[in-house]
């Protein structure tokens, strides 16, 4: 504890509570309240209703939720495979090429997502690769945006695994593929799950690039929420936002409950 006096500790806690309250809790509370509000003219809502949730669970909202989940799962899975492969391959590469490829992987995370969307739109709106107006371009956009996080997480995990595990496995007769399946990947599992979870959460909330490239019939929930609130249906948008957050949270909790023996070192 850095603060030893009782008053100092109380002050520190108060500042922390204020920051957490304003930055995290207040927006969440407002959204939740708005999602069950029938009328809100004063400081607090004057009338509550579940009508917005009923709207959210019917019609196009359900399709949007499904589009978000499918996009998130697929893009995250592809990014995980790609990021893991790249991290494993680049581990033993010489420093200079590794640094260059590191930058290549991390560029999408540094560029605004709208720019990524625009870039894809420009690149794939003409032959030979014509993706504009297809589902594929949405997956590609999400894949590009979350790849950096998958690669970063897996690389960090690999850096923490002592090479002796793999060397011992090799000395015992394990060929590279056997070693990868039975030693490297199980040891990496906590990082793989973290990479997938982060990618999925980011994909579920992605708006900037998606809004540039989504085709008719594949509207993700953030795009839907943006559209609904833009039309003034703020309470319906709030209900969809809560639904989006609960779904993402449910998937993340499920992922975090996967038993990882290697994590219990």
């Amino acid at each position: 504890m850095l603060v030893w006096s009782r008053a100092g500790r109380a002050g520190a806690w108060a500042v922390l509570a204020l920051l957490v309250g304003v930055i995290y809790a207040l927006p969440a509370i407002i959204i939740i309240l708005a999602s069950v509000t029938g009328q809100w003219n004063g400081v607090l809502p004057s009338h509550f209703t579940l009508r917005h949730y009923a709207n959210a669970l019917h019609g196009s909202s359900a399709a949007m939720l499904r589009a978000s989940i499918v996009t998130g799962l697929l893009a995250s899975a592809l990014a995980l495979v790609n990021g893991s492969w790249a991290a494993l391959a680049l581990r033993n590469t010489r420093p200079l090429p590794r640094r260059v490829l590191d930058i290549v992987f991390f560029i999408p995370s540094a560029v605004p997502s709208v720019s990524v969307g625009l870039g894809l739109l420009v690149a794939f709106s003409r032959p030979p690769v014509l993706l504009n107006g297809t589902l594929a371009i949405v997956f590609v956009a999400h894949f590009v945006l979350v790849s950096a996080y998958s690669y970063g997480n897996v690389s960090a995990g690999l850096a923490r695994i002592t090479p002796e595990y793999e060397q011992i496995a090799e000395s015992l007769g394990a060929r590279p593929w056997y070693r990868l399946r039975h030693v490297t990947l199980p040891l990496l599992m906590p990082y793989l799950i973290a990479a997938f979870s982060l990618s999925f959460a980011l994909s579920m909330g992605e708006l900037g690039a998606t809004v540039m490239v989504y085709p008719p019939g594949w509207v993700t929930l953030p795009v839907g929420i943006f559209g609904i609130t833009d039309r003034g249906a703020v309470f319906d948008g709030s209900a969809l936002t809560v639904l989006l957050a609960v779904t993402a949270l449910a998937v993340l909790i499920a992922l975090s409950r996967i038993p990882i023996k290697a994590a219990q070192r």
């Binding site: 090799e170 015992l172 007769g173 070693r179 040891l187 599992m189 290697a262 219990q264």
Partner: protein
């Protein structure tokens, strides 16, 4: 196996390096002129050594001396710039580690944390496609051998350091390797468990007499206790090689004398040799001393007289004992021994003895003695 002596150009001056003849190459481990460099820095220079089948060879040396690199070359984790490695008659230099039939135990054991002890031991057998019945039988036998059969279901995190070490040894032995590589396997254990494990390793090797073992350590006690022969390394080179007793009693150079045990070294001049008695007369200041002769330190040559602290006495060990007048500089009682420091003609010497009833006081003038056969000569040009 007969050893011819090869004056290898890369070896330390005068070091006898066993020739890697066809027999050594056919069995055991043979290193021929191995050189390894990391980022342009030579870490192993023309390393040549033959390890006999069934032998425990300890490689000792300070940090950065190249001993672990030699081990990693054997395992195939490091590819040498030059030279060849033979295991059991095969040239394995270009083989990947998984094709070398090697068991290895490292300092931190590297037990797979996601597998219980049983699966750790079974790993190598499964990787080699062994039948389930064979795996069960072999794993049970190996766990029994190291006294860990009742811990088969435990994960590494549920085992103590000593238990993890035993499982690591069982895992290495389960594949019935030709060679067992031990890289400082006891250094993570506390002193008491280390002693127990040393005895267990010794017992284990007695039960597997055909297993060739390379034991890398910086602890000379471990090497002396366990090894048949010891190779001392320094700056990427093998600077001394021999059986434990011989190397301890007759170190070929100053570095070997000082690294393998403690040594009192006095600069002397050889006056005369007597091949018949095997003794030589040397001069240290005004004193004339009789010591064991070294054919490479001939009359007129400067040399170092090497005497171990426990070979120095406060009472003459016999009628022919050498005597040196010394001043006691410090006296330390260490429980099971007395450690006494002397100063003789500007040189500091150390004597260790079983606890004395009346140890000398610091500052006292005493005579200390040693038997001629307990002192050896290191030729001047061999200084490490």
């Amino acid at each position: 196996m007969a050893e011819a002596v090869l004056g290898h150009p890369a070896a330390a001056p005068g070091l006898s390096v066993p020739f890697i003849g066809p027999d050594a190459a056919r069995r055991g481990i043979g290193y021929e002129g191995i050189a390894v460099a990391y980022k342009g820095t030579i870490v192993l220079a023309d390393f040549t050594l033959a390890v006999r089948p069934g032998e425990i060879m300890a490689l000792i040396g300070p940090s950065g001396s190249g001993k672990t690199t030699a081990l990693r070359v054997t395992a195939g984790f490091v590819r040498p710039l030059r030279g060849r490695v033979h295991i059991g008659g095969r040239d394995v230099t270009d083989l990947p580690p998984y094709a070398r039939s090697i068991g290895m135990v490292v300092q931190n054991y590297a037990l797979f944390p996601h597998m219980p002890a049983y699966e750790n031991v079974a790993f190598g057998l499964r990787a080699r496609g062994a039948q389930e019945a064979t795996i069960r039988e072999q794993v049970a036998a190996c766990l029994r051998m190291v006294g860990m059969e009742s811990f088969a279901k435990r994960y590494p995190r549920e085992l103590s350091g000593g238990q993890q070490q035993r499982v690591a040894i069982a895992r290495a032995l389960a594949i019935r390797p030709e060679v067992l590589l031990l890289d400082e396997p006891l250094s993570a254990l506390d002193a008491q468990i280390r002693l127990t494990m040393l005895e267990e390793l010794s017992r284990l090797h007695r039960s597997l007499p055909t297993l060739t073992v390379i034991y890398v350590t910086h602890d000379q006690t471990e090497a002396l206790t366990l090894a048949d022969r010891i190779g001392i390394m320094r700056d990427g080179r093998l600077v001394a090689l021999g059986d434990c007793q011989g190397l301890y009693r007759r170190p070929p150079n100053r570095f070997a004398a000082e690294f393998l045990g403690r040594a009192n070294l006095l600069p002397v001049t050889v006056e005369a040799e007597d091949a018949a008695s095997g003794l030589a007369r040397v001069r240290f200041g005004a004193a004339s001393l009789m010591v064991r002769r070294n054919p490479e330190a001939t009359a007129g040559q400067a040399a170092l007289l090497c005497i171990r602290p426990h070979d120095l006495r406060l009472e003459p060990p016999g009628p022919s004992a050498n005597s040196l007048a010394a001043s006691v500089s410090e006296v330390r009682w260490k429980g099971d021994l007395h450690d006494i420091g002397f100063e003789i003609g500007g040189h500091r010497l150390r004597l260790t003895a079983a606890p004395l009833r009346t140890p000398p006081e610091a500052g006292a003038l005493v005579n200390c003695y040693f038997a001629p056969e307990d002192a050896t000569l290191i030729p001047e040009e061999r200084r490490g």
